[in-house]
Symmetry: D4
């Protein structure tokens, strides 16, 4: 129920054209669609210039297009479509009206509209352990960028070759948030959190085999980090990490 | 190796009082104790006025006292001792020299020195599902406060009585970070993240029985949150959540 | 052994046309097919007008047809074939004699014969968290309908957007039973049970990835619901939930 | 916000003693405490004469007494306190004012006030596998009784001695709901559901050892029941089963 | 319902002293207590001279005594009470009337009455890996003996010192059944089954620590035995193995 | 080292043509290939007329043929090839020389040579819960037959329709061993063991979905059977159960 | 930063051509690329003549070729490419310039360049339980050989036929390190460690089915070995075992 | 069968005082106690001067004393008693005859006799993450020392403060074997293996809480190490690591 409708009901009560019982009934019918509604409805939307998100997995290419077109037509200027394979991306590219589409194959993300200028307070560092972690770390990076953060990538800085990581101390020390993406033993999150002075969001990946159990080893490792300042998202959930990082980095 | 020592070596080289081989040997001995060292060494310390942390579990009361006294004597003015039972707290209180000690029994935390004035950008909301979750939510709250954050507590706002939570929409909408503490099915994190517009740090607790498996149900629930903006710390890790929340909230 | 046959044996004994030993032998041969048999035999059948069920998974299309034809010829007028792919459904449609066949692709259910008129005491509400949960929620819905219940569907009312659920308070308050279908963190069951005043049957789905572990997260979440009045069926078991809901709703 | 307050605001608007802006502000402040509130607030309460529930675990005896006294003074006439050890029960008995207290030691339940007369549509059968399951089955039985259901107990009817169960076919066939309580392999639920023609709520117990894993074996067994009409609650959750059974049995 | 009663009913029908309806009612009441009943009722009892079993865990000493006395008075001459601590055993010893009581402390088993002479076809070999496995292997041994089997024990023949096992090839080759009891990696079962030419019943024990997970390692090891002829009972279930071994060994 | 070789060494010592040191060296070289060897070597072979076994999974059709041909040429007259798909079976049929081949498609077993006449002491009953369990129960049945046991099959006697099982009380009471094959909740083993008076070998199958976890539910259920006389083999291991059943049934 | 560069900076300081501030800046920039760097950088490289390793899984054939060519051109004369399928191996063979390529199909390993002469102190024995374990045991064997170890293979020495293993006592007693590769129950490691007098590296394989859970049974079995001197690598990680074995065997 | 007995048999054959059949029978009786026996029997004993081991857990103080005294009297001069609490250690100290006893309380190890001089090729480094890991790391250290290795301890070098570890690069680079002991996320093993050039034996500890699951997180982490050269022992198995490290370090 819009503000306007509440006012209209009250005006009618004031003007004597609606009796109390009818007014109470009308108000009662919509306890959750009143003024509070708007806030709730928009809760997922990041303010000013931020992206709307479409989760592409399990949706047909037509559905993705439909939702994207409708958002675009509704005025959203950065639409993030995640977990989108190439075929769906091509389809959206070919049929969307009025908008440009960018597609990152590794990250499986398309951006309909334009990438926003970085508006965050600082830099989001996305560090990943190995090349196999790239689909997840890129999902995190593109997501954070689409939500207005400047992103610096540290690729292939796994802990088995510590100097690779240590040679990036400047980026680590200057980050506002760090996303640590790693599979296998997932030690990267603890090592980075031990070095850094900002929140670390750890993303376990399902990279590995055997007693990796689909990412369980990295997940448990990250949850049990001996370093302070680490929190964890679901296995392979690069989007979730990028989203929260952008939230933290927002001015 | 301090900056000063590096400079001194270089000065001696410059002045001809140290030959190249000796200089190289001296520099080589401390590849990790050079200028980078100080930064690394201090990485766990929050800047200016923040707390140092002592993990009390598995330490004797004498050890806790010793560490705390040494920190206090070294100039730290807010020392956080977590997972500290009453006996250890009493011992520290009785024997610490030069400092006051506050103890929160539910949170099992002592603060040696003084609690800092809130210096964070905004408010950290600590919401918990039931009264059994209080030890964990209080650990989170006191930790965040000791690290300079203003904290608002929402107690007993479990999802089975949604109106209890919804009546706190203002606190939720105005938070800079929210810590959602819940055991059993851990649904609180998703519901809050769906309502809020800031990062949510979820803390699963081991409260429950049977197929709760020591907090596993809440942990998995929170990791699989359908709402964006949620990250998770270890089961019962109120300290970790409070620590990261304060980091995020830092100006 | 039918009641009638027992009576006939007794009549023959009474009439002297069967001696005691033969009677005892006849009765003995069927200790479990006596009067109790009929009750047991029919226990799976809901009374008057209800459906018989064929579990289609792992059966050939010829087998499904054979069983269905035999039931139809035996007088069953609503035959529910679950977990039936399109090919099998087409085959049954093409070859069944004397009956119409309806097929719901999403629910993977065919009804041979006719859907019964709703005879239940009230309404079964089937609420589902997201569009990916539809195959399971539709299986629940069609099953309940085929067993004589009126069904109201609440689609895409996941807890991350609470207002979507809250705008259906009327349906929730008026339900006789609610089936809550959700994957990922499965919080929907607790939230609904906290709002409703009737039994809630929770169906965890395998929708999700990573630490979802094939539906384990939703399953544990639902089993540990902090709300009273929730029971749970197997992961993806829409049929089981629909079946029990119809049982509860029966007059 | 009570109905009365909404009416008062509207009356003031109608009477011209409150302007529209103030009225809107007043209404807005309580989007979730309006008329919807009362319904939500009372959602846990069973209608007319039913019990309120206090979960005793993790509460001090003083807290249990305090809550119970306050409920009693507020007019609730059947208060169910579950998971209550003998000491707490004795304390409540000794100090409660104005009410009688009954305590069932095996079920660890106290009823403050009086047990209601059975008002349910039929009978709730509580069947349990072995004597070790009694604490759980009694919790279920007393709960259902306190919520107005007539209860019939079938004790020690485990599937390893089938005749014990089969000799109770009449109770099974005449039940409105059956609660099947079993540990170890939990087969009781499937066998009963195969015999009965009503909903079966299965309660796995933690009775057993070794590969029982704290009730996991019975839990998985019950979730995978090959019989239709079975749903499951948490391990050892007799209360949950009794509560839902009473809900189903309510007229 | 005894054969005799069925005959009596039939005679009355034949003789005209009972009408058909009454006969059918009488027969109907006992569909599961007919001739099949007696067999079922006695299914747990081993024939002629064998033991009855009382599971002592979770029963009071008075209950154990009561059941044992009643069995003894009913003519059972070998009563096996398992999982019985010393205190309960002492109580039974002191109060049982008319019978002797033997107690094996390690096996936690008492035999009320007398141990039967071995009547089995051959020898049951009980082999155990280490001294910590003795409570379980002794439970198996005493159980098999109480059920009429001759038992040979091979103690401390763990696979880490293969010669200890190999020096008992004669016992292994001459066994009718072998019970292999082992914790930790549980390899004993496979090694023995590879050497022997008779059924091997494997009993995993909870002996071990760490990744033993309460006996899970030995359990999985034994279930995955690469040798033919191995079956497995629950962790620490010496009784179950001894019981089945005696069954197999029965003439 | 063959018996003959040991004798020859001793003869040479006796005859003085070999000195003691050489004899000791010769004997030492073969501590495990002496007379004990033959016994060990043949341990897997069932005596007189029994089958040799080839595990077909992971072997090429050429390998299976090669091994089978070599066994046949070596005089084995019943060769059991398990886990053999149709293609491999056809290949063996087409190319084996001198022998007939029978193939059971459901059981995925081929017998090269002839099935032996039943020589066991009694009957092996193979009972299975549902039609989906047939591949496993048939593997058990054919294996037991190939090893000389008479087999009676009870198909589709799952516990949800108890009368189906109870109508086979005669077969159950007359069995020497029973193999109970069931997926889902695996309750069949407990129910049968409660009815029977002989060893029950339980085979959990991976039939099911969701919280079945690949057969884990049936496995745990069977390991925790409340009935005495049950042992368990690996999930889907029909061969193992048939093999042990034949061992038990051997005269 | 190379030794040479540090020396050059120092020379410039000494010679007065670089001032102190610039020198400190230059040194500071590379705290982790100084002399320590070289050691770290080379840590993965075994000294003199040893192999470099390329993990082939998840890399394209072009990437594998590129890395290998670059290593070869850089002077590495033994390059080990693991987890390489035949197609990638063929591609590298066809396009590598200046080098020979050997490919082991079972082990999925290619060696670019030449296999080194054995330089280790003794022999690495690679023992495997069954033919299905060959891909893993061969990966271990080829890896150890490529790193300079002499390897002896014991194939198909599973514990179910102990004499096969025992006939290789000489190889076992003379080994410097033994790699024990086994799936299913993984008992081989314990049995070998009980016989041998050198370190045993156990490799669980995922060979098996059902309660094998992807190698978990062998993994837990090996971790819980009752024999001293056993350590374990990841499931199917033949490379890791071969690598560590070669390390141990190095002179 | 001792060498001497074999010789005696052969002598008697040679001398004609034993015929061939008797000789073969005598030899046959002991296929596994012949010359091979001695080797097997001594397999657990490290050569010359090394320790014998008594596992103290689950043994009474009298048993430990008895075994130790018997070993001492038998000439063993270093006897290692592990998992020995203070009371048992005191008892052995007070009653052992002829020997000194040293006891390490943290490691729960007693050495009866004298610690051997280091005879290993190099140094065993025992690195541990935190002070709570000390019982395990000390068990490893004392074990390696008692078996003749020189040990260097690196205490409290957890990865959250990397500089602590990096300041010990010399010890790490000079080790012959490194034992990495860590709980929580167990990242220490990967980081050290990335730095070192020798075998790393990783010991996960049960230090931690929540999703640590009794050491599972560190165990999985270590098994999935991305660094080469790591193998793992059971959770908290310091002894096993120390034992294997000493084996590797033996000259």
């Amino acid at each position: 129920m819009e503000q306007m409708e509440v006012r209209r009901i009250l005006e009618q009560v004031q003007g004597g054209t609606m009796n109390l019982d009818d007014a109470m009934l009308r108000l009662r019918e919509a306890p959750f669609t009143d003024l509070g509604y708007a806030r709730i409805d928009n809760h997922r939307q990041l303010r000013q210039g931020a992206a709307e998100v479409i989760y592409g997995e399990g949706k047909t290419k037509e559905q993705v297009l439909g939702i994207a077109q409708s958002m675009w037509d509704g005025g959203v200027r950065t639409i993030l479509a995640t977990r989108l394979n190439g075929e769906k991306a091509d389809y959206v590219k070919a049929h969307i009206q009025g908008s440009a589409v960018q597609y990152w194959e590794t990250a499986r993300i398309a951006v309909i509209g334009s990438m926003p200028e970085p508006t965050g307070r600082g830099t989001v560092v996305v560090a990943s352990g190995g090349t196999s972690d790239l689909p997840v770390s890129e999902e995190a990076a593109i997501t954070a960028m689409a939500l207005g953060s400047k992103v610096v990538r540290l690729v292939d800085v796994g802990v088995s070759g510590l100097h690779r990581l240590l040679s990036h101390m400047d980026e680590i020390m200057n980050a506002k948030v760090i996303i640590a993406v790693a599979g296998m033993e997932g030690a990267l999150a603890s090592v980075i959190a031990g070095l850094a002075d900002c929140p670390v969001i750890a993303v376990p990946t399902s990279v590995g085999y055997g007693a990796n159990f689909g990412g369980l080893s990295a997940l448990l490792s990250m949850l049990n980090s001996c370093a302070s300042g680490v929190s964890v998202v679901n296995i392979d959930n690069g989007f979730g990490a990028g989203y929260q990082a952008a939230m933290i980095n927002r001015a």
